[in-house]
């Protein structure tokens, strides 16, 4: 099996991640719910993970990071907790449904949305964001990288714009956390939404949200908080205000191990390797007759994704043949990115997405190139 579906979830994890989950599942109690050693051990692991993520994202106070089950939950918290009727939000066609659907729900309740279009390569022009700012604009929410094309968005520029125009800046880092440098101070990010199971190499069911000090987000959930039991409302103190219910301590122990691995190896070193593999693949297939490749490969930086089609073949069929005949696992279809597909004209055909990891090898990529060549010749 050759796994090229890392934009969906990273399958190759460091052994330390599985070991940490195993150790946690045998040893830790419920976080924040008791003071015996098993419960405190959960607290220690979770606190360590909060601190490590703070280091990775340059967050000064680790209590500003709450754990969630994934980026989708984080984005729902951010959008539903910060967008109110009458408020205007700007987003882009690059977005995943985890941004778009919560926004559409807010729109139905009286919020206003502007969606910035892309050029044919799938890039947005940041001046377009500025020209759409209105008196009632409250927020810009956008992805750091398209999960379909791999195009990167210049979040530093958007962060500067939002700061200058006093707008909230919410970033979906589902594709980039652990892969690209993220600095909430330098990039002026007010709310950062990330998942644990992709670039951070943690287990599924882990993720988080950073909320800048001074910003109060209404929680999606209320319930057990581990404190203030007799209060009728959920305590509004970060991070517990966004962590109702027992946390996924076992998963977070694994996430800690994943982030440790990344910090140990170096974000830049790991990214360089996966980008080299992406480039090897792109160079190997770009001249194939009838191949269509989406996204901007002239950009200085991009994610390790190559989305393609062969002629007019159904992307699902290509993906299935890759899996069945070659044991190469990719992702076909719409990738939960409806507006990006519409912008690229691939709504009907979908696209075959190859997404690479630093755990892949050059030999695997060669086999991928050969498979695409074979299929294109058939």
């Amino acid at each position: 099996m050759i796994y090229f579906d890392n934009a969906a979830t990273s399958l190759h994890k460091p052994d330390s991640v599985a070991d940490a989950v195993y150790a946690a599942i045998r040893n830790i109690g419920s976080y924040g719910r008791g003071s015996h050693q098993a419960s405190l051990e959960a607290g220690r692991v979770i606190y360590a993970a909060r601190e490590l993520l703070s280091k990775l994202f340059h967050v000064k106070d680790c209590s500003r990071i709450a754990f969630t089950s994934n980026a989708t939950e984080s984005l729902n918290i951010a959008i539903k907790g910060l967008v109110h009727p009458g408020g205007h939000v700007i987003t882009t066609v690059l977005e995943h449904n985890s941004v778009l659907r919560p926004l559409y729900e807010r729109e139905a309740k009286g919020a206003e949305i502007t969606i910035i279009k892309s050029d044919p390569l799938g890039n947005i022009n940041i001046d377009d964001i500025e020209s759409h700012i209105r008196e009632n604009t409250k927020m810009v929410v956008c992805t750091h990288s398209s999960n379909l094309t791999g195009n990167l968005v210049d979040i530093k520029k958007i962060g500067d714009l939002c700061k200058a125009r006093k707008l909230l800046f919410v970033v979906d880092a589902a594709q980039t956390a652990g892969v690209f440098p993220i600095d909430v101070e330098e990039q002026k990010i007010d709310v950062l939404c990330f998942t644990g199971h992709k670039g951070l190499l943690g287990p599924q069911g882990t993720g988080g949200i950073y909320v800048r000090e001074g910003i109060s987000v209404s929680p999606l959930k209320s319930g057990g908080s581990g404190s203030s039991t007799f209060l009728k409302t959920h305590p509004m103190v970060m991070p517990e205000c966004l962590e109702a219910g027992t946390l996924n301590g076992h998963g977070i122990a694994g996430l800690y191990a994943g982030v440790s691995y990344i910090l140990d190896k170096g974000v830049d070193n790991l990214r360089r390797k996966e980008l080299e593999l992406m480039r090897q693949f792109y160079d190997g297939i770009k001249e194939i007759p009838d191949i269509k490749i989406y996204g901007d490969f002239f950009a200085r930086e991009r994610s390790a994704i190559v989305a393609l089609n062969i002629g007019e073949y159904d992307s699902a069929s290509v993906c299935d043949q890759l899996a069945e005949a070659y044991g190469i696992y990719t992702r076909a279809g719409g990738h939960c990115a409806p507006l990006m597909h519409q912008a690229l004209g691939t709504k009907e055909q979908g696209a075959v997405r190859f997404s690479f990891s630093h755990f892949n090898t050059r030999d695997e990529v060669e086999l991928g190139i050969k498979a695409i060549k074979d299929l294109a010749m058939e």
């Binding site: 003071s35 220690r44 209590s63 404190s227 203030s228």
Partner: protein, 78 residues
């Protein structure tokens, strides 16, 4: 039941601060351990730091130097 003794009890706004306190005190070799918040302080639940009364100044300084936000420092027979 064990006999009551006078203890310093430090309360926090959230569990994260309590965990930060434990880490700090372990690193610096400061006195105390995490205990459930005594019900004479609050009828909720949660963690507090319990230490010998003589450690008050040392603990207070350590929290202030390391930006650990605490609610109150009590002296209680527990």
């Amino acid at each position: 039941m064990r006999e009551k003794e006078l203890r310093l009890v430090i309360t926090f706004q959230n569990t994260t601060s309590a965990m930060a306190m434990e880490k700090l005190c372990q690193e610096k070799g400061l006195n105390g351990r995490l205990i459930p918040v005594p019900r004479s302080i609050t009828a909720g639940c949660g963690l507090s730091w319990s230490a010998v009364p003589g450690a008050r100044d040392e603990l207070k300084n350590a929290m202030e130097e390391n930006n650990i936000i605490y609610d109150e420092i009590y002296e209680l027979e527990i």
